[in-house]
């Protein structure tokens, strides 16, 4: 995702002037982002953007506002997350891969993954989750399966999934089976792919 694509997709919002003005003000006076961030949903709408599947107008507008900051992205993103409602927190999480924050946003991912709010758990597992260490990332993926977040939201799923994760998923599957419950299809599909990969001879042994 890029700011330009978000900007393009937001052209049709009910009040595009409000957003344009807010972006200009944030660039000149960063402190104004607090008010604009809170108001973005009611000014830009909260529905899906027709030209940008997977993005709502409020998420896109808030991410754009963060990218418009002239500096101090990490500090301001942290503050907006800590003081944000659920929608604001989600937008900060989605903005992280677009911001020059290094690994400073990782504590926010941990916070989001601790919640049981599926919107936040999902938003924490986008491209920025590459900064999560393997144990935290595996636990987060397992949590997705556990609380019903589709695995399609997990960035780099197949590249990062390892035998350790396969073991954790299989154990959850066994618990569910013992209780007469099933696993979501995307989880069993992932397990199948991991098993197929494990069954293949290692390149050096081939």
């Amino acid at each position: 995702m890029t700011p330009d694509r978000l900007r393009e997709a937001l052209r049709g919002v009910p009040d595009p002037d409000w957003l344009a003005t807010a972006l200009r003000r944030v660039a000149a006076e960063p402190a104004t982002i607090t008010g604009a961030f809170a108001a973005a949903g009611r000014r830009c709408g909260r529905g899906e953007l027709p030209d940008l599947p997977g993005w709502t107008a409020d998420d896109a507008a808030r991410v754009l506002l963060l990218t418009a900051l002239p500096g101090e992205h990490a500090t301001i993103a942290d503050s907006l997350y800590r003081h944000g409602d659920a929608a604001e927190k989600r937008a900060v999480l989605r903005a992280l891969p677009l911001l020059p924050v290094g690994t400073a946003g990782v504590p926010l991912l941990h916070d989001a993954i601790r919640t049981n709010d599926t919107r936040l758990v999902a938003a924490a597992l986008g491209p920025y989750a590459r900064h999560l260490d393997p144990p935290a990332w595996r636990q987060a993926v397992l949590k997705c399966v556990f609380v019903g977040v589709p695995l399609a939201v997990v960035a780099d799923l197949d590249a990062r999934a390892d035998p350790e994760l396969a073991g954790m998923l299989a154990a959850l599957g066994a618990e569910r089976a013992a209780a007469g419950r099933s696993m979501p299809a995307d989880a069993t599909d992932l397990l199948d792919r991991l098993a197929a990969r494990a069954g293949q001879p290692h390149p050096r042994e081939a």
Binding site: T34, G41, R46, G47, A57, A86, D117, T118
Partner: protein
């Protein structure tokens, strides 16, 4: 029957309640910030609670198809504890949030000087943030409390049409009816109002500016008494349209004044009489 409960403390209720409410027709609620039974001793306890009202609780409600909004304030009881006074300083941040549709519950508990001060300060916040106000009236010394409440509201300069005076009954309704404020009635199993008594008040005073809520919380209360009141209205000869006005359109009109109600999936019947536009913004 579609129902908007304009005052219910869902934090204290279980998912069973959400299920039963949704099945009974409750599609939207407003959860006012109030006290939790156990007094709090620091500002952090309040911010965690407010964060829950604009974070976790709307998520929980959404799982049952119920739209959740909140009102935020320092409640009258805890206004008396100096350790809680700094809550006033964090309120402006919350009063800008999407899901916050009024300042509340504010008003009186024991009518102390501290409550005077905090009540007036929060009415000023309502004006500053362009929000309506939800005013709790005391359970003891109620009539005097309502009179004093109305005096403070008048003095604050807030438009009375943006104020609901809540927990009214047969005695106190008379004091509020002609002030221009909205009238709130909490229907409780034993105390406050009952469905048959509420029907009598609607007969006597009409349906305009009347709000009926369950005020269900951690005490003995019942989140389905809004529905029961609607049924009692029908049995008493009120029309389905009367019931819809009291249980849906009135709360939508009152809280719609915030410009922040989010009822995207609902049939939005409330229209601004001046512009002809929906008074709800922010949906799509």
């Amino acid at each position: 029957m579609r129902i908007f409960d304009p005052h219910i403390h869902m934090t204290s209720r279980t998912t069973d309640d959400y299920e039963r409410m949704a099945a009974a027709g409750v599609r939207a609620v407003v959860e006012p910030a109030f006290w939790l039974g156990q007094p709090r001793t620091s500002v952090g306890s309040f911010t965690d609670y407010f964060d829950s009202l604009i974070g976790w609780e709307p998520f929980r409600a959404g799982q049952f198809g119920v739209r959740h909004h909140a009102t935020v304030a320092l409640n009258p009881k805890e206004a008396n504890d100096p350790r809680c006074r700094a809550v006033l300083d964090v309120l402006p941040r919350y009063l800008e949030k999407d899901g916050v549709v009024a300042v509340g519950e504010i008003g009186y508990d024991s009518m102390t000087p501290e409550e005077d001060e905090v009540f007036a300060a929060q009415l000023a916040l309502a004006v500053a943030h362009d929000l309506p106000a939800l005013v709790h009236t005391p359970h003891r010394d109620k009539a005097r409390g309502v009179e004093r409440t109305l005096a403070v509201v008048a003095e604050s300069g807030i438009d009375p049409g943006r104020v609901v005076v809540d927990h009214l009954n047969e005695v106190t309704v008379k004091l509020v009816r002609d002030t221009g404020c909205w009238l709130g009635f909490s229907i409780y199993p034993d105390t406050k109002m009952s469905p048959p008594r509420m029907v009598e008040l609607l007969r006597a005073y009409g349906t305009e500016r009347m709000l009926v809520n369950s005020a269900a919380d951690w005490g003995r209360s019942d989140p389905l008494l809004t529905r029961e009141t609607g049924e009692a209205m029908l049995l008493a000869g009120f029309t389905a349209d009367d019931v819809d006005r009291v249980l849906w359109r009135n709360p939508v009109e009152f809280y719609g004044q915030s410009g922040r109600l989010d009822l995207r999936d609902e049939d939005l019947a409330a229209v601004d009489p001046h512009t002809g536009n929906s008074i709800l913004r922010g949906g799509s």
